[in-house]
Symmetry: C2
Subunit: 327 residues, 2 copies
């Protein structure tokens, strides 16, 4: 019998999540049924999009869930062999039982670490890629802004815009992150959104306006982008973390009337619509990583007991790049 | 020598415009130069989009301008003969001198009144048509909401959605207007936005959610639409009158994060991009009017001295359909 540890939602957070909102629970797993596999999780993801779910979708006193990578420990399913590495949505636990649905085999390139398949080589990277290329449709020479540009998705999105030949401005929440964006990732400009009003800082760094905005923040960042957007500008709406601590993910925006004369489009998108594109994306991204064109950072905590810290820290901006827990 | 009367901006309104913000001025026009024409204006338009310009673009102590239709009284321009009827942007005056730029000849159908070319058969109708068909891309059987549906653009947009086979809900600012929408224009449902919270009223009337929203209002109407929008819904952003009395046309919206998982697009558009389509549009619209499929109302005031009343009344919702001044 396998004993697993998992993170339960003990109470729904009000505002920023706190450690006391979560509970570590030990649980004996049942014997595997027909068609089932036992997964020993290796990495699990902690994402901003999980915060609204803490207020709504996740159930109280049950294990949370989310993206993870693990290896098959035991299998009653002919599609999966012991030792296979699979991406799954059963994070927040050491071990998971699955009937195989929603599992995606991961075959890492020899020169790329497995953790990258939870970030730049996984859904995180694909989100950035599709958002910048298929949604924002950036073209060479365009002016591009990425908010939360030191975050998991933002840092990849900003570098993809650079690869496509754009002028790229990023925002981040500390001077260290701003230095990383400019010195290591090669952004043309970056600013610390805590150091002054976003609209004033962004305007100073976008003398040619903006043709595209990859939005991870909403609120004051979206307002600032709309106030400098060029005619036919595009907003790829990936996330709006500024509202995620409010019930209903409310984020307040005042400048929407600018989109009318600007013929601006604001386009919501989710990576799930693009998963069929993963193999092609991974081949292209692997080459960019090898060529040094895309760099990435992960903030990795260790052990399932740290998962609540990862969530609390993420919402406080303590990560650079992807926030992961190694299990 | 021709003496004209024109409306000047005496001071910039704060909040709702008042009669004292405007001034009627009498002025002797200079003799026509080479290539110039003298236009005697017949109708002038008063539009919501003029309100933000009162705070910004229009100059103090000069004549306002805007859409108008007039006849050529004298011509030094071989392209225009005396008696030609021309659409122009020199409203808010009895007579106007033009070098011919921006004039568009209007040849009304025998069975359609000239005033219709300032509303349903002009830019107003084309705005509704393009917004509903090319921007919102409504399809048969879809669920559609039009705000300010008793207004000039909204009333046409809502009827076009009905022609296209959609379920159509409209909002308006009085019970009389709501009755007109349901009883005369044939909308499936309508509500008085002053009678209760917009989100609650809209939700009650959209059991199948919304596939498209033709936005003339912004603010609480846009928030309400976003809260019931189906996956891949489209918002055609035509106007946001809720913010037009604020400097910068600020309108406050909280539900934008809904667009992400909903893959919703919010698309700003202006009719100027579609003017080449006017002849084709007018042919189609004329037939709809003859067939009784599109009805329209105009609220017509008389005499240039009434133009400030038209602007003040428009912003107070005193019109049904297009607000015009007959000169």
């Amino acid at each position: 019998m396998t004993t697993s540890r998992e993170i339960h939602l003990a109470k729904r957070p009000e505002g920023l999540p706190e450690l006391g909102d979560f509970r570590l629970v030990e649980r004996d797993l049942p014997a595997l049924g027909d068609g089932e596999v036992l997964i020993r999780q290796i990495y699990m993801s902690v994402d901003p999009a999980m915060r609204p779910r803490l207020s709504t979708d996740y159930k109280l006193d049950e294990a949370l869930f989310g993206g993870a990578i693990g290896s098959i420990e035991a299998s009653n399913n002919e599609k999966f062999a012991v030792g296979d590495v699979v991406h799954n949505q059963l994070g927040f636990r050491d071990f998971a039982v699955s009937n195989g649905e929603g599992l995606r085999k991961v075959k890492p390139e020899a020169d790329i670490p497995l953790s990258a398949y939870m970030s730049v080589m996984g859904g995180t990277g694909l989100t950035a890629y599709q958002g910048m290329i298929d949604v924002a449709k950036v073209k060479e020479g365009e002016q591009v802004f990425v908010s939360a540009a030191a975050g998991a998705v933002g840092s990849i999105a900003a570098q993809i815009a650079k690869i496509k030949g754009c002028y790229v401005v990023g925002s981040a929440g500390s001077d260290d992150k701003v230095a990383w964006l400019k010195d290591d990732l090669g952004l043309d400009a970056a600013f610390n959104y805590k150091a002054g009003p976003v609209n004033r800082q962004l305007r100073a760094l976008t003398p040619k306006g903006l043709d595209a905005y990859f939005d991870n923040v909403g609120g004051d960042h979206l307002d600032a982008a709309l106030s400098v957007m060029n005619v036919r500008g595009r907003v790829a709406a990936c996330g709006m973390i500024s509202g995620y601590n409010e019930f209903g993910a409310k984020t307040t925006v005042h400048n929407l009337a600018n989109i009318i004369y600007g013929r601006i489009s604001i386009l919501g998108f989710v990576v799930f619509d693009f998963m069929h594109f993963m193999p092609q994306f991974q081949a292209e991204m692997a080459q960019w990583i090898r060529d040094g064109k895309v760099k990435h950072r992960e903030t990795i905590l260790h052990g399932i007991a740290e998962a609540p810290h990862a969530m609390v820290g993420l919402m406080r901006g303590e990560n650079t790049g992807k926030m992961l827990v190694e299990l």
